[in-house]
Subunit: 200 residues, 2 copies
DNA sequence: GTCTATAGGTGGATAGAC
DNA sequence: GTCTATCCACCTATAGAC
């Protein structure tokens, strides 16, 4: 069992600052100097906790992935129907954007070709995990007739992830979170079961 | 009237190489040295054509936007129905991805916060132009009952752009262009008019 | 238009004192 | 664990010869 570390642990604070910088500016556009300035320490001190930028980046991804998948698990634990699960899924993205941040792994996906292999692997695992969760929700939801869609669940999942990541990307350049929410709402609406005689 | 310049004009070749580098690696991850090496000239020579990297970036965006909007105009000139127009629109994206490139402005949208103001303006203009074209196609297509969707055309347009840009982003990290095409096809399918008695 | 040479800055990373 | 000091590579950009 790991020894409990307080939330203000130095490594954690470094990761917090670095995460924010990557989500706002990208991995190639932030430096150890940026993090050091924000924490009032020296660059050398950062290298004690994360010897190389590549390792820092890999840790960022692993933490983000764990936190994200943890949130998905909590959605499952809420035992709500598929529509509510998908709304909660989109809400995670909306919360990220609320602070003018891009999804960490969406940002890194853009820089993918320039990143070390360990980071590339982590990014793929993040999206694989996202897809797997969505596939389980979409499969169960369709079986229970809570949602409707044609074709393979994995393809419907990819449309959702693509729309949400793309909408974050675009909303940031317009500084308009409303635009993201509208895209998210419409993307989920495409999965809703049409009520036969609903007045709508 | 501008003096005609051959296609192998030096400035053009610089833009070609820089465009490819930005689409593959991002604006912050390529340098004058990269372009110079590819063209077998010196960095100093590049600065004669594009004094600063910011100006080079702004020129890249303007050229890309003009080329993209030109392609949209040619789609209009083909006088096909809305479904075919939208398919042709998605095909432009697919062609970009075919060379393992990201949409130039999608890539730059990720790096948006780190870019000079002139480039930020250009990126917004690119997406505004895309949206405007889609809105006109969606509006006319719905009026002619070639396609169907709820709500404002601009919102349907944004879902499409988001899905396509997001799908490019994700397909690159999986090196799987098929994944992009599937997302594109499904996104367009959501706009298709449901044939009442179609066997499907 | 292209070159050599170089300035002036910042990048990630290390050695060694405390 | 944090510091000072430093290394070396690379960055954008400029001066001035050809």
């Amino acid at each position: 069992m790991a020894r409990p570390t307080v939330a203000t642990d130095t490594s954690t604070r470094i990761l917090d600052v670095a995460e924010r910088l990557v989500q706002k500016r990208g991995f190639n556009a932030f430096s150890y100097a940026d993090v050091a300035d924000a924490l009032n320490v020296t660059k050398a001190s950062l290298h004690y906790h994360f010897p190389t930028k590549a390792e820092l980046g890999a840790c960022l991804i692993e933490r983000y992935r764990g936190s994200f998948l943890g949130a998905l698990q909590r959605i499952n634990d809420a035992h709500v129907d598929a529509v509510a699960q998908l709304r909660a899924y989109a809400a995670i993205y909306a919360d990220v954007l609320e602070n003018d941040r891009m999804c960490l792994c969406g940002m890194l996906a853009a820089e993918y070709a320039t990143l070390p292999a360990a980071m590339q692997d982590g990014i793929r695992r993040f999206f694989d995990g996202n897809e797997a969760w969505l596939v389980s929700v979409l499969t169960a939801g369709r079986r229970k007739q809570q949602i409707a869609f044609a074709g393979r669940p994995v393809d419907a999942a990819r449309v959702l992830v693509a729309a949400l990541e793309g909408a974050m990307l675009l909303a940031r350049s317009r500084q308009d979170a409303t635009q993201f929410r509208t895209v998210a709402r419409r993307s989920l609406a495409d999965l809703r079961v049409v009520k036969q005689a609903a007045a709508e």
